[in-house]
């Protein structure tokens, strides 16, 4: 009898441990996808070494990717959308603060050289947004999207201001459709023209994005893509002859496409990748590859991918070469959560 009682008492901890073990084991069966949390780029080692130097953003922090490793640059703050000056010596980036965002000039180490705009105000309606900065090919002007005038809702127009000047010298370049979100992603061209993305709403009230060309400030803009294509996030190749873009064709997935660009018109696009969540393509410094963002698996956090291109000669000298993918895309980063709305700045 005593022996059985002792055995029973000794067995109680075993039962307790087993019950706890079941509880803990069930906890390990939770979805790994949901549990997956991103890490900062500096805590990772890229799986592929990209040529040159690239600047990317995660959680409002600027990172430099060089020689296969990340380093964080820049002061604290909510940074996004870095872009390089044509001589590759400085950056212009956006910093959000409260209810506004401003453009800053930084050196390549992330030190602020100059605040270019002042868009914050104590009165909420007088705050402004500045996004998508790009420097003109001659390095003289910064072109960006700015939510002014605000007479008909809050829509972004493309503006230009001297890089070494003041915001008061800024002038508006485009006239957006009101209540659509407006014009974004400007690319200033060497001849003075401008590429940008304009949003519109068709009679069935579906929202569209199209890439436009405009020869000069406030001139009539010419659409280069159709409403049905829903193209945006254009990136011009270093030699200015090809345009990479993301086209959703009205779906919740997109195609990564490249089309020859004559300076004022687009040739027939070639689909490089289709059916994915592709974002913010950027050309390699030699123009032979693209980098872009896309989610890794089901976790959803956007990673950096690299896609080498092969140039196929075309018989017609008047049409630029048509690129086709030489191989499958290569995943560069793993486990990070890069900002898909901040295109990589790459030189």
């Amino acid at each position: 009898m005593i022996l059985r009682r002792i055995a029973a008492i000794l067995f109680l901890p075993v039962m307790l441990a087993f019950g706890s073990g079941v509880y803990l084991y069930l906890g390990t069966l939770k979805s790994k996808v949901v549990q997956s949390r991103p890490v900062l780029p500096i805590a990772t080692k890229p799986k592929f070494v990209l040529p040159g130097t690239m600047f990317v953003v995660q959680e409002g922090r600027l990172f430099k990717l060089e020689a296969g490793s990340f380093t964080e640059i820049g002061p604290g703050g909510d940074w996004s959308q870095p872009t390089l000056t044509p001589d590759h010596t400085r950056l212009v980036a956006v910093m959000r603060s409260g209810f506004s965002s401003d453009l800053y000039l930084l050196d390549l180490g992330g030190h602020v050289l100059k605040r270019l705009t002042k868009n914050d105000s104590r009165y909420i309606d007088l705050n402004h947004w500045a996004f998508y900065p790009r420097i003109s090919p001659d390095g003289a002007n910064v072109v960006y999207s700015f939510d002014s005038p605000k007479t008909n809702g809050v829509d972004l127009s493309v503006w230009s201001m001297p890089l070494n000047g003041a915001q008061s010298q800024a002038r508006r370049l485009t006239d957006p459709y009101y209540y659509t979100g407006g014009d974004i992603s400007p690319i200033p061209l060497a001849g003075g023209g401008l590429l940008f993305v304009r949003h519109s709403i068709d009679p069935s009230t579906a929202v569209h994005s199209r890439i436009y060309y405009q020869s000069r400030a406030l001139a009539i803009a010419k659409p280069l893509t159709t409403e049905a294509d829903d193209c945006s996030q254009a990136a011009l190749s270093p030699d200015g002859t090809q345009l990479a873009m993301v086209c959703s064709h009205g779906k919740q997935t997109a195609a990564l496409e490249v089309a020859p660009f004559t300076g004022t018109a687009l040739g027939p696009p070639r689909v490089l990748l289709d059916g994915g969540l592709y974002a913010s393509p950027a050309w390699s410094p030699d123009g032979k590859a693209l980098a872009y963002f896309a989610p890794q698996g089901q976790a959803g956090h956007f990673q950096l991918w690299w896609l080498p291109l092969a140039v196929t000669p075309t018989p017609s000298p008047s049409v630029a070469p048509t690129p086709t993918p030489a191989s499958a895309p290569v995943q560069v980063t793993e486990g990070v959560d890069l900002s898909a709305t901040s295109p990589p700045a790459w030189y």
């Binding site: 039962m15 939770k30 979805s31 947004w129 809050v154 979100g181 993301v246 976790a299």
Partner: protein, 339 residues
């Protein structure tokens, strides 16, 4: 001596190895069950407190329209859920529904149809009088919302589910965020600043930039809630709400039963439904199996001509900006999609 023999034999038989093994196994099963019960205890509590909410839908006063008390659909047959989303920030004791989406689920074919109902639609309420349809929930809770939709749209609703805004934020964060395509810049200078703040009537500026991206809960809420700078107003917002709902579904398909306690904990106090645990389990089964290609999205749009509804405002509507339904067009759409 003769009396000790049988007693020793009885003792020996009680300690037989088979009996010991059976007893040990029983104890282990018991302790394992206790461990599992402890793990799923929050689910059981929520199952009792938040699911199977009883609603008594008042009988229809409109001829030819039958309002049936929910739930009524048999397992495996198509059923319709009214999804309600509303403020739960304490601004109103009875919150308005910011989102009303009719969802028809066909388990056999794994087809899902979603119809967004504009919140500003001017309709007769089941509780009496006319008002914007978003007031039905405020005046009479889920029963009034169901009855109002049933009477005006001539559909039968089997179940309802209500989610508060904070619950939506927490759910998306618990899922690790959602991926979606923001079609155009969503800029709003008068976005309600009423989440986790003492002053509930403030406004703030928000900007959600376009493109494919990963959104956390608060940014996803900004995307689905903003409407002041959208030329489509609440109709555009309805389309974005369906988009986020599908993104949540895509992410939720990676969940398994072990995630339930966390999800239940996340939605505590921010979720109510008439569905019982059995129906929820069936719904989750459909959700993990159906393909996005089998989802039909329907949004009632406003435009000057040839559309389902039109804007109006004035003294007749208490000075409110309302949407006047063209019922012949609306009912044609609902009849086609919600037979």
């Amino acid at each position: 001596m003769t009396g000790q023999g049988p007693a020793r034999r009885r003792r020996a038989s009680r300690l037989h190895p088979v009996r010991v093994a059976v007893l040990t196994l029983f104890c282990l099963v018991l302790s394992g069950t206790a461990g599992a019960a402890a793990y799923f205890f929050p689910v059981v509590v929520a199952g009792v407190g938040q699911t199977g909410q009883t609603v008594v839908v008042p009988p229809s006063r409109s001829p030819g329209v039958q309002a049936t008390p929910a739930p009524s659909a048999a397992p495996g047959t198509p059923f319709t859920v009214l999804l309600l989303g509303s403020d739960d920030d304490g601004k109103n004791q009875s919150p308005l529904t910011q989102s009303m989406i009719l969802i028809r689920v066909e388990p056999a074919t794994k087809h899902v149809t979603m119809l967004s109902i504009p919140r500003d639609l001017w309709v007769p309420l089941s509780t009496g009088g006319s008002a914007k349809i978003d007031a039905a929930y405020a005046y009479g809770g889920a029963a009034a919302a169901i009855a109002t939709v049933e009477r005006n749209f001539h559909v039968h609703i089997d179940e309802y589910a209500w989610v508060g805004l904070k619950g939506l934020i927490k759910l998306i964060d618990r899922l690790g965020g959602v991926d979606l395509l923001v079609t155009n810049p969503v800029l709003d200078d008068a976005y309600p600043d009423d989440i986790d703040t003492k002053f509930l009537y403030g406004y703030k500026r928000v900007a959600v930039l376009p493109g494919f991206q990963h959104l956390d809960g608060s940014h996803a809420l900004q995307y689905v809630r903003s409407r002041h700078n959208d030329i489509n107003g609440d109709f555009g917002r309805s389309a974005r709400q369906q988009q986020v709902l599908l993104a949540i579904k895509a992410k939720a398909s990676t969940l398994n039963v072990a995630d339930l306690p966390d999800i239940v904990d996340t939605l505590k106090g921010n979720f109510k439904t008439s569905m019982g645990l059995d129906r929820i389990r069936n719904l989750l089964g459909v959700a993990t199996a159906f393909d996005l290609a089998n989802v039909k999205q329907v949004v009632l749009y406003a435009c000057p001509s040839g559309c389902y509804t039109s804007y109006d405002h004035g003294a007749a509507y208490g000075g409110q900006s309302v949407v006047i339904p063209h019922w012949s067009m609306v009912l044609a759409v609902t009849k086609a999609n919600f037979p």
